[in-house]
Structures are given as structure tokens and as C-alpha cells.
Symmetry: C2
Subunit: 348 residues, 2 copies
DNA sequence: ATGAAAGCGCTAACAT
DNA sequence: ATGTTAGCGCTTTCAT
């Protein structure tokens, strides 16, 4: 119980207990079956007496296992306050990892030079990594060139040929469903706010929207599509643009919820009522979506579960040594709230 | 450029460069002044050729410095999606740490047994820790009993006698200011939604509210105060309760923004207009506050900056070896938006 | 300016 | 059932 200046080492513990260092090590690693109950108790008692705590670093070095995994996030995503997606993944990962005794490192990239980038990530301090939504052209995609760390990708569906194990929303299918919902409500003039051109998900969502519109006989004119940064501010700007289109669009698909919130607010500022004058739908169903005014109709993506499953898959790879591969999709679910309604007949 | 099965070690590097392992080490650690330019170049070239990457674990063990810090969060705060405060601190910490070459571990507690708790935290894998809003009675407060890791506390102002270095909002002063603002607007019947009884900040905010009301001649009746969990759901419940008070309260102070958002929505559901029928103010100014309907009048706490400064202070302690102590406050700033207005005269 | 050698605190293989 | 020993990959004296 006394405060100790120097943490005791295994060697000191062994001395205190009057056993060899190997015995002490075994016992502390729960290989108690190998030893007599008395010895076990003696070692444990000594550990308590000394306040012994194993040094994780030394243990990692010797065992070549750190029991730590890294979650790698691109600088573009690294402001968590603005990125409910990354935050939700993180929650899922933590939830899965902590009970298993794994620790978590957050690796936010700063230097995107491929060589030094991998110095930062694969420095022996993690047993595996989760890549959060790597961007198109990201040096992270050079992965196989630089490392053999077990790895799972979330939030980006990469070309299968790259060889990654990806866990992502079924973006195309979900966007198709969302677009069709609007179509069924009777909308025809449906605008779209796309995400950044360097995000796979943004491309996939855009593509599914275009395809679905085309399948229903509409070639989408370019001015129905506005760019955005996937953030609230981008939603504001995009809405300003889409509200100019004449004749007026009757619906806007925002390709994620933060953007949708921006669109909603821009509409309010311009005196355009939602859903009476225009329908607005989002994508992701972040916690905020339900609190929007009006509550946002959106595609729910099980982001938290993606985090959970990613952690699971990663641990499995680490523990079996068998790399996993291929793209795996989590289905979306249409959450109908109040921001979309049939277009007013007069407008047709 | 070829993919390598076994990462090269310093020893292999040294051989490849034809120097001793000590020399190689020096050069990789930028102690190039000690060596001839040719040697330096030879080692660097060999490193590039082999794709050498230092093993951080081995380095940490030998140097007894991990260049990693831990951010410790209580289970109660550990769902980031619901906790914009923690998320904002995290952003600040990351921003400060990354450029300095420090890595970040997220330590979410699961086992709150004091002994094993510290096993998890102080296991040699971090050079210092940031304690995020430790709760009243938390085993984290036994800190000095179990460890000498450099440490800074954010989000809780602990009793000075405990000996911590705390960085927090000036809760009392800020709440006083907020209450006085409402008083100046002409409100007298001001209700309060308090936070969990195990959070220091909640107690401090409540206390300042009570004191300020008393100073202005009002002994607050118990039914003007509703409890909450500091989350949206708690705001809903609290509002249900406070809206029953007769004669009606003209204002409600929510002791954080998430709660205020709940109050706002509950009011809307009950047909109580804000600010016409009742004023509502929050505390923290999380990003969401500005997006509320109506935009929330609130006390801004520089949460992000608290994260930045915490990281700074921690690094300083680590690098100088001098422990810091005492409570340090960041001033709040009243952000006047649209959720508070003078009470309707008729009500007086 | 460089090399040799002694650890850092632990695990794991091998003896006994 | 227990002890001995050789590392894990690096940093850091201390010689030279």
C-alpha cells in the first residue's frame, strides 16, 4: 500500500516469492495448471504485496504481440466533432475490443508521404489496423506494398482487385432504394448533393442515384447535382445552388445526413418549407437526424455495427493468422420520418 | 521496393551499411553530428534500401519512453456518439499531439476495481495520461496511491487538496453569468436542469445557479430543479417535469447543451413556444447548439482548447519531469442566439 | 568517429 | 513442478 518510487519488475517479484522468474511469469499469465497451488498463491501474494504490474511494453517485445490495435483515420476525417460517422465506428470498435483486453490507438495521419506514413502506422506497436474510409488515391491503399499487418477497411468499398477486406454499407443498393422511394412518392425532378470526389462512397451513391433515375426514364441534367464536402456547411452551399433550378426541384437527396441538415437549414432560411415545398432525404441516420427539424427521412446505415464487426474480423485475423479478403456489405434500412412527402400536385 | 516477409532489424541495417549497431542507432536518431557525413549517408541509404522501420516497442523498452499518451475515459462517458464534450476534447488533444510525434491511446475503463484499473492504465505503455471528467467517487481519484504517471485532468475541477492538475471551464463563474443574463432579461421564475450527481461540473453549475438566485432574493423551491443524465433523453424528461410547475416558469437553464436540446424538443411537443412562452438556455456550446430550433443561447466553453492545453501541459510535465498542480480555468463566453428573450409582460 | 557490450522487463523453449 | 537461458530490437554508456 505504500507509494513506490520504482515499479517492481518480474525479477524482484520472483525473488520476493522465492521462485524463478519463469515460474512467476507463467503464473501471472494464468498458466497456473503447471504449478502447485502453494506456489501459485505465493506468487500472487507477493504480487499483491509489491503492487506488481507487468510491463506491457516488455511483454509485447518478448511475445511479439502488443494486444493493441490501431484505428487509422485520414486527415480529412480527423475532426471527430464534425464526423459522426467516424465517431460511431469508434464506439463500435471500442465496445468490441475493450472486453477482449485489447487496447486501442488512434492514428491520425499527418504526413501523407507513403514511406513515412507507414513508418508511423506499422511501427510494431499494433497487432492490426482498421482503416477508416480511405480515400481514392490515398497512400493507405499502397498497404500491400509496405506491410503485412492484419487489416480491415471500413466505410470504403474498394475495388476487389486491391485485395482488402472491406466492411461497408451497401451504398449502391441503399441509394437505389432511397431514390426509388422518392420516385414512388411521385417525385421526378430530384436533385442530388454529392460528396467529395475522393470518397468511394460518394461515387457509389452518386452512381446509384443516376442509374436509378435513368432506369425510370430520367437523364439527370448536370445542374441537378451539387457538390459538397459531406459536412453541414456543404449542405448549405449545395442547397443555395439547387434551389435556383427552374422549374423547381421537388426533392433533394443529400448523400449524407450532415449535408441534409445543411440543406434543411438553407431551405428554412429561404422560406422554402420541407416537406411541403420540397422533400429532403439524408443518408446514414446519424443520431442527429432524428432531432432535425423536420425529423429527417434517411437511409440508416448500421455504422456502429460496422465498427463492431470490423473489430471482430480484425481480431480473428490476428488470432488465426489467416488474412481475410473481399467486400462485405451491411444493408441499409429506410427510416421514414417527416422530411419527405409527395410533391404538391400543382407543381406537376 | 520488394515486399519483405521479415522486417529488418537495426542489426541487419548495421550489417548492410557496414557499421556498428550503435552507430546506426545514433544516426537514425538524428545524432548525426557525431558521425562523418559519409557514414550518415551510408546508413540512410541502407535504411532506404531495406525499407527499415524502427520498432517502436523495442525503442520504448530501451529508452523507457513510449512517446504515447493515454486518454482515460470513464465508462459513463464512453459512448462518443452521445458525448460531444469528450469528442471535442479528443479533437484538441489529437491536434496538439500528432505534430509532436506523440501517439494516442484511448483507454476506456471497464473494470472499476481500483487495483486492476491501474493495471490497465499504468502498464508502461504510456508516458502520461489525460483523465477526462473523472466522476465523484471514481477510483481514478486514487491516482496518487497507485501511480506517478504524469497526469492532467480535464472537465472536472477537483478539490485542490487532492493534488491534481485540472483544466476546466470556470463553471461557477460561467453559470453565474448565465443566470444573471436571464435575470437581466427580467426572468425571476427560472428553472434548472441539473446534471448527474456524480459529476463535479454538475454540482458546481447547480451551486452557482442557486447562489445567484439567492443573491437576487430568490430561494429556489425544489420543484424548480429537475435531474438529468446530461443527455438529450434527460432533457426531454426534465422538461416534462418543469413544464408542470405552476405558476409557469418563464425560463429554464439546462446545465449542458444536449439537455437543452431535449428541453427544446419537449417544449415543441407540448406546444410551448421558445422563447415566446419560455426561454431556454444551454451550456457548453457544442456544434449542435447553433443548429437547434431555435438556435440555442448558451455559455460557450472552449472545450477544444481545453484539449489542446491539456495535451500541452501533459507534454511539458513529461518532458521536464516537473509535476504540475492546481486548478486552471478557461473562461466561458455567453453566446446569445434566439432561445432566450424577456418574459412576456402579461405573465409577470 | 566508431564499436562493444550491458541492459530495458519480459516470454518461451528447454532442462532438470 | 520449477529453474535456466536465450533472445525480442533497441538505447546508451564506455572504450577505443
Amino acid at each position: 500500500m505504500t507509494r513506490r518510487i520504482q515499479r517492481p519488475t518480474l525479477k524482484q517479484l520472483a525473488e520476493e516469492a522465492g521462485v524463478s522468474i519463469g515460474t512467476a511469469s507463467n503464473i501471472l499469465n494464468n498458466k497456473t495448471a503447471l504449478h502447485s497451488p502453494e506456489t501459485v498463491e505465493r506468487v500472487l501474494a507477493a504480487a499483491r504485496r509489491l503492487g506488481y504490474r507487468p510491463n506491457r511494453i516488455a511483454r509485447s517485445l518478448a511475445a511479439r504481440r502488443t494486444h493493441t490495435i490501431g484505428i487509422v483515420v485520414e486527415p480529412q476525417h480527423a475532426v471527430f466533432t464534425r464526423n459522426p460517422y467516424v465517431t460511431a465506428v469508434l464506439d463500435g470498435v471500442v465496445e468490441q475490443l475493450t472486453p477482449q483486453g485489447y487496447h486501442l490507438k488512434i492514428i491520425t495521419l499527418r504526413d501523407m508521404n507513403p514511406r513515412t506514413l507507414w513508418h508511423q502506422i506499422d511501427d510494431g506497436s499494433v497487432d492490426g489496423i482498421i482503416l477508416v474510409a480511405p480515400l481514392i488515391g490515398s497512400p493507405l491503399l499502397d498497404y500491400f506494398h509496405y506491410t503485412q499487418l492484419p487489416c480491415v477497411v471500413v466505410g470504403s468499398t474498394l475495388p476487389e482487385s486491391l485485395g482488402f477486406y472491406c466492411l461497408d454499407a451497401a451504398n449502391e443498393q441503399a441509394m437505389r432504394q432511397l431514390t426509388e422511394y422518392l420516385l414512388q412518392l411521385g417525385h421526378r425532378r430530384i436533385g442530388f448533393v454529392k460528396g467529395p470526389d475522393n470518397q468511394w462512397s460518394a461515387l457509389q451513391r452518386l452512381h446509384a442515384y443516376l442509374e436509378t433515375m435513368r432506369a425510370h426514364g430520367t437523364e439527370v441534367p448536370t445542374d441537378w447535382i451539387a457538390p459538397s464536402n459531406y459536412e453541414y456547411s456543404g449542405g448549405i452551399a449545395a442547397a443555395e445552388q439547387l434551389l435556383q433550378v427552374r422549374p423547381r426541384l421537388t426533392a433533394i437527396i443529400a448523400s449524407n445526413d450532415m449535408v441534409a441538415l445543411g440543406v434543411l437549414d438553407a431551405c428554412a432560411q429561404h422560406g422554402v418549407r420541407v416537406p411541403e415545398d420540397i422533400s429532403v432525404v439524408g443518408f446514414d441516420d446519424v443520431p442527429l437526424a432524428a432531432l432535425a427539424k423536420p425529423p429527417l427521412t434517411t437511409m440508416r446505415i448500421p455504422i456502429h455495427d460496422i465498427g463492431v464487426e470490423a473489430a471482430q474480423a480484425l481480431l480473428q485475423q490476428i488470432e488465426t493468422g489467416e488474412p481475410l479478403q473481399g467486400n462485405h456489405f451491411m444493408e441499409g434500412e429506410l427510416i421514414i420520418r417527416e422530411s419527405a412527402a409527395p410533391p404538391r400536385l400543382a407543381k406537376g
